[in-house]
Symmetry: C2
Subunit: 219 residues, 2 copies
């Protein structure tokens, strides 16, 4: 699954010892778990180190600081998250929205990752949070992707209102995030996949008006 990327004839000389890279990934995965279940400030390096059988100083040996570990963890998650996409790149147009619904469905099976991002993204709005820039940039990028997809869906001769497209793009991400929080608090009470699909379709319908009708997305 992952082994493929060790390819390329240029063996990178002495630098990366394979075992070390694996160790670092273990730590990053442990960090996801700990920061997800306890929050950033509250999650300790010792707890992360414990999960991979070393001391907290060992973790710092690899990552230098807790802040750096968080940032590398977010980066790692981004890299591995697109791995499952065959073409390694997020689709556009209507397919983007289908992709988002699929993601919601997938997320309903992995509360751990969902919690990590739900907790950290809200955490990041606090003063001087090390991941604030990461999340700001992330949302900017995602909103832009969705705006573009919305324009693609629309008839170019009858372009939608810009302000509305902006609102719709933000709203799509917002429902997904907000539903995750409610679902994490009370999984019985919220059907994450269905509610996400419903809301995304609702926003989509409202944004593109009458041009495209009913059942654009499947559930």
């Amino acid at each position: 699954m992952i082994s493929a990327m060790a390819t390329s004839g240029t063996q990178r000389a002495k630098k990366p010892r394979e075992e070390t890279a694996r160790r670092r990934e273990d730590i990053l995965r442990a960090a996801m778990s700990t920061f997800g279940t306890r929050g950033y400030k509250n999650g300790s390096l010792a707890e992360i180190a414990d999960q991979v059988g070393m001391t907290h100083a060992g973790v710092l040996h690899h990552f230098g600081s807790k802040d750096q570990l968080l940032l590398e963890m977010l980066d790692y998650r981004d890299r591995t998250d697109v791995e499952h996409l065959a073409d390694q790149h997020i689709p556009g147009g209507l397919d983007l929205f289908r992709h988002l619904v699929t993601t919601a469905r997938r997320n309903a099976e992995r509360p751990g990752i969902v919690q990590t991002f739900a907790v950290l993204s809200a955490d990041s709005v606090t003063d001087d949070h090390p991941a604030k820039e990461y999340f700001r940039g992330r949302y900017t990028q995602l909103r832009s992707d969705i705006r573009e997809a919305l324009h693609e869906v629309c008839d170019p001769d009858d372009p939608p209102d810009d302000a509305m497209v902006d609102a719709a793009a933000a709203a799509v991400l917002a429902v997904m995030d907000g539903l995750q929080v409610q679902w994490l608090l009370d999984p019985e009470a919220v059907d994450l996949a269905y509610a996400s699909a419903f809301a995304i379709e609702a926003v989509l319908t409202a944004a593109v008006g009458g041009r495209r009708r009913r059942r654009m997305l499947e559930y």
Copy 2:
């Protein structure tokens, strides 16, 4: 030891009870500010105490523990938040949605309170968080209010699908919350009031189908 600041003069001290209640409220407001800007775990009693000119032990004298302070703060916010409603009670039917849009507009003017709730609600999904039960109950109640309002809006002879109403109720809260996070991270990029109104109307339209049309809500 301490030269008391009992600097006499016209030292009015008639009603210690009332004065005490005011002191407690000062502390609760300071707690909102600190927990909002730093998160729960990260915000210290010392910082809260500082804002009202006392030591952290003074705060504990009034509230017993940090957890208790958080809970009372949430309670205080709930009490004071409905004060501005003339009839002191949340409306039903279409008025509920108008009220939500109004709230979003109001929120765009008070980032402090918005941040407090955005941060704490996501914080609360972490393990053993003292406010988890508070937020779970809060969402349960709000979803129920919205479900009811949705039913009121619909023609009783043609009732909407239950699963859809559930999804719509959760989605309405979710967009509002999610938009707040994006807005806090990047106020320039997100129009909180407009996007909230747009998304709420979109969900409403999708949920009640053709029975009610266009411009149910004003912006």
